[in-house]
Amino acid sequence: MIDSSTMQKPKISVDSLNFFYGKSQALFKISMAMEAQQVTAFIGPSGCGKSTFLRTLNRMNDTIDRTYIEGTVMIDDQNIYAPDVDVVHLRKRVGMVFQKSNPFPKSIFENVAFGPRIHGIRNKSDLYSIVEKSLEQAGLWNEVKDRLNNNALGLSGGQQQRLCIARALAVGPEVLLMDEPASALDPRSTARIEDLIGDLKKNFTIIIVTHNMQQAARVSDYTAFFFEGELIEFGETKQIFTMPKQKKTEDYITGRFG
């Protein structure tokens, strides 16, 4: 386990988090800290709880019936599960990109402008500059600037995923959660997303769930290995992949199971 005191100042710190779907417990006593402007990767076999854990960080699990949680998740010293927390505000600060690109069946412009608009920005030129900036950050601006009014569903899979990233960036988050953002993409699009993650970490705290261990090794600074709802090992990516301390971690990354 990494000692959180060795980090400068954790953006997110989780303390003994238990999570339940109805009666079955999905996460057991998770404690870890994630540093600002770093990429933290969650790896582990299917069903190990990494996606569930990711979704506790912006309270997306609230949308599933009969789930509940114990423990605390602090973002900048504020417990996001405290009763007075406004989920809308939380999700504005903690953006999310999903496994399957899910643009709205609207124009490219409207997709990106949707977030800022619901958060109260009405001015056309303000919206336009947010859309432009977000698309530029997501590396999509040059490809779509001449067809902002076209339907987003006409874009390729990789472009759609970058559009979803732009859409998430447009509300001005501090943390970006990515749930296997490249698993449905071809190798070239995947490479673009990975480059993008490298660029984005200058401004955002990024947490990425991935099935692809090479991907975790390429893009992340820290890696957490989950197995059956427990955090088995967490540390610097280099250390996890070169000299894992736990037998299970070693077995998993060397492909002995999973």
Binding site: F114, G115, R147, L153, G154, V171
Partner: protein, 309 residues
Amino acid sequence: MKFFKKANFRLNEFLAEKAIAAIATTSLVFIFLILIFVFRESIPLVLGYAMEEDNKLSLTALFSNNWIPVSNHPQFGIWPLIIGSIKVTAISLIIAFPIAVLAALYTATLASKRTKEIVKPVIEILAGFPSVVIGFFALMVLATFFQNVFNLRFRLNAFTGGVALSLAVIPIIYTVTEEALNTLPKTMTEASLALGATRWETSLYVLLPAATQGIFAAFLLGLGRSFGETMIVLMATGNAALSSTNIFESVRTMSAAIGAEMAEVVFGDAHYNVLFFIGVLLFIFSFTLNAIAEFFLKQRMMKKFQGGA
């Protein structure tokens, strides 16, 4: 002698396939025969040799303003019937469409599971109500109620009929819209919520627009049902063939005219031909409606996937 059976022949499958094809064809043939029958009975009128008492029934007379089919000098102007149908249909849809769509939006996207489990079946039961029951309810309860509320001259009028009709149309529009909303991928809702949208914003600005096509189809189905519905309007509209724009006057719809008069008409009579002609109009209307819907939906789909605006 052959060593092998012909590999691509299976007797059972062959027979089953033919049998199913035959059954499918039969139902097609029936529809086609009904069509031919309805059209044939209106031919004398269309070709202009349907006879009134004294002279030929002309097409101008057909689209005149007086529907007095049973008299010494019958007049078969179907305008009042067309206006009646349009009036009642419009009233019913103006009431039913917003209610049904909002109800569907509520149960499909906002309501808790328990509320949904109660509300949805109840609205769907309404779809199974015999229209004569709705008509009876309108006749006995609604008519009196509206007369008192609006202080009306006639108990039975286009408004009462339209309201009653909306009870029959709501479940249709509701069911199709609900279906359209439910088939939207869950990831769409998640994407919106993850951007910090509330449930309400998600429903209104993401899900509802995304289901436009289905809602349009729902509207057309409701329109078709409303236009063709007979029993409710027969019981609740008063059946006076007046062509006025006042929604509180009695009307006779096209469907109600057929329903009320067909049984008492003389075979082969001009009146008989005219009723069939009205039937043809109803048929053409619903056919066009479906064609438009199909065409419109396809156009939109094409645009959508070609990335057009």
